[in-house]
């Protein structure tokens, strides 16, 4: 595999997350499946990285391992130099909107991770994030009565409210309609620029990856390996018809083996 466009992580950033020779083998009914094969990756502090690959390639498994829900069969994952062994509120996993708790109101969901704070402080934070994701007026509403996009914003707000250093997003906009999805991408970038969290974003949508990320990690089908890491050197806000943008996008299309003519 030639790595023509591979770029080392920007040197100015301190390493936040390092994935070191991680492999993962699942065993089901006595049959072994290799899911991840020798993954190496470094992510800098405040960086926005997309893991891109076909459905079922193991990128969600990698994200789960970063969050501490799964432990790798071999190799190790470190955050701030510390080996990841279990989930931690410093890195919050955002599921598709399925993760919001249906038995809590919008306020209750956002305040879920804040029970240790004094009441006044908690309410201030809830109000802040309600405003940030544009859910004013829905504080007392139950998720059942919200639209898909609102639920997704709610889950992001719940994650941000505990002030994590890292967000792990698993195809967060996959279940939304295409217009809402575009709006949500803009919102996420706005939030990222305001709060500068490290973001790992799993997606199978090439356009989405190129629009959002500082770097796109292209993964192969199972067992997943890193095929290529593409540095998206287009400043935000990105002009998605610019020459450079299209060049990078087409490069990834070709890398994955898709001609871009139908």
């Amino acid at each position: 595999m030639s790595q023509t466009q591979s770029v080392i992580a920007p040197t100015a950033l301190k390493t936040k997350l390092s994935v070191d020779r991680v492999s993962m083998v699942f065993e089901r009914d006595g049959k072994q499946t290799d899911v991840l094969d020798d993954i190496d990756l470094e992510v800098g502090d405040g960086e926005f990285v997309c893991l891109l690959g076909p459905s079922g390639c193991g990128k969600t498994t990698l994200l789960n391992a970063m969050a501490g829900f799964l432990s790798p069969t071999s190799g190790e994952i470190r955050v701030d130099g510390e080996i990841v062994r279990k989930p931690d509120p410093r890195r919050i996993f955002v599921f598709q909107e399925r993760g919001v708790f249906p038995w809590l109101t919008v306020e209750g969901n956002i305040g879920f991770g804040l029970s240790k704070l004094p009441r006044a402080e908690r309410e201030k934070r809830i109000a802040h994030y309600v405003k940030m994701v544009g859910l004013q007026g829905f504080e007392k509403t139950y998720p059942q009565e919200l639209s898909g996009g609102m639920k997704q914003r709610l889950e992001v707000a719940r994650a941000l409210a505990v002030n994590p250093d890292m967000l792990l997003l698993d195809e967060p906009f996959g279940a939304l309609d295409s217009i809402t999805r575009l709006i949500m991408r803009g919102e996420l970038l706005r939030i990222w620029e305001a709060e500068r969290k490290t973001i790992i974003f799993v997606t199978h949508d090439i356009d989405e990856a190129v629009q959002l990320a500082d770097r796109v990690v292209v993964m192969s089908a199972r067992p997943a390996t890193i095929q290529q890491i593409v540095n998206i050197d287009v400043p935000h806000p990105r002009d998605i018809s610019s020459q450079r943008y299209l060049q990078l996008r087409d490069g990834i299309f070709q890398q994955i083996g898709l001609a871009h003519k139908l």
Binding site: P87, P89, F95, R98, G99, P102, L104, Y142, V162
Partner: protein, 260 residues
Amino acid sequence: MNGFSQPGRVERVFWPILATALLLALWCYSVRWSGTRVFPSPVEVERGLAELLRHHVLWGDIVDSLRRVAYGYGAAVAIGVPLGLTLGWYPAANQVVNPVMQILRPISPIAWIPVAIIFFGVGDDAAVFLIFLGSFFPIVVAAINGVSSVPAVYRHAGRNFGLTPPQLLAKVLFPAALPQILVGLRIALGIAWLVVVAAEMIAVDSGLGYLVIDSRNSGKRYDLVVAAILLIGVIGLVLDVLFRRLEKLRSVRWGFRFES
């Protein structure tokens, strides 16, 4: 006209009244037609009910039955829900306990009557014990199923926010399982009401069940028998309706699919 057209408001009142009236007429007519001396007509039942009310026995019996249900069912809820949550939370423990529960569960609570009488003698305690047994197993099973069907996403989210196991149980698993637990509690309440009547027919000498059997044994007062039976139905219905109110609470409504 099939089930998908919307009948008007007048019809909502008209049809039930018509059906009830027809049924009463049919009952009245067949009593007269068969010339029975024993089985009462609706009018006689109504008179029987009035008689029961006048002699103030009825309230005492109703209170006795409800008290037994409250104690037995209350104890079953207090023990069954935490136990079910725990067993659902630790599948290994559930595997150990499950076979025993599966054998004890289908034993009719009524079949425990002789044993209950040895333990508690003839009286309230025996009846309360039977109600406890009848409602305990459905509650435990509902709580186990409720917890074990909580989507993994919720558990992961809870752990991600740094919750300790007891917090996870209280703040994620319990609320997530609550709709299913409520369904189990409602079914168990129905069973409790069924068992109390049966227990009172055999093991004690007060309550609505006793009223039914006593009215028959002491002088074939079938008007009182039917009056008591209908009353059992009405009270059971009231209990059920009250319980359904709980299911409308906003924090659990998400779990009931056919709620509008």
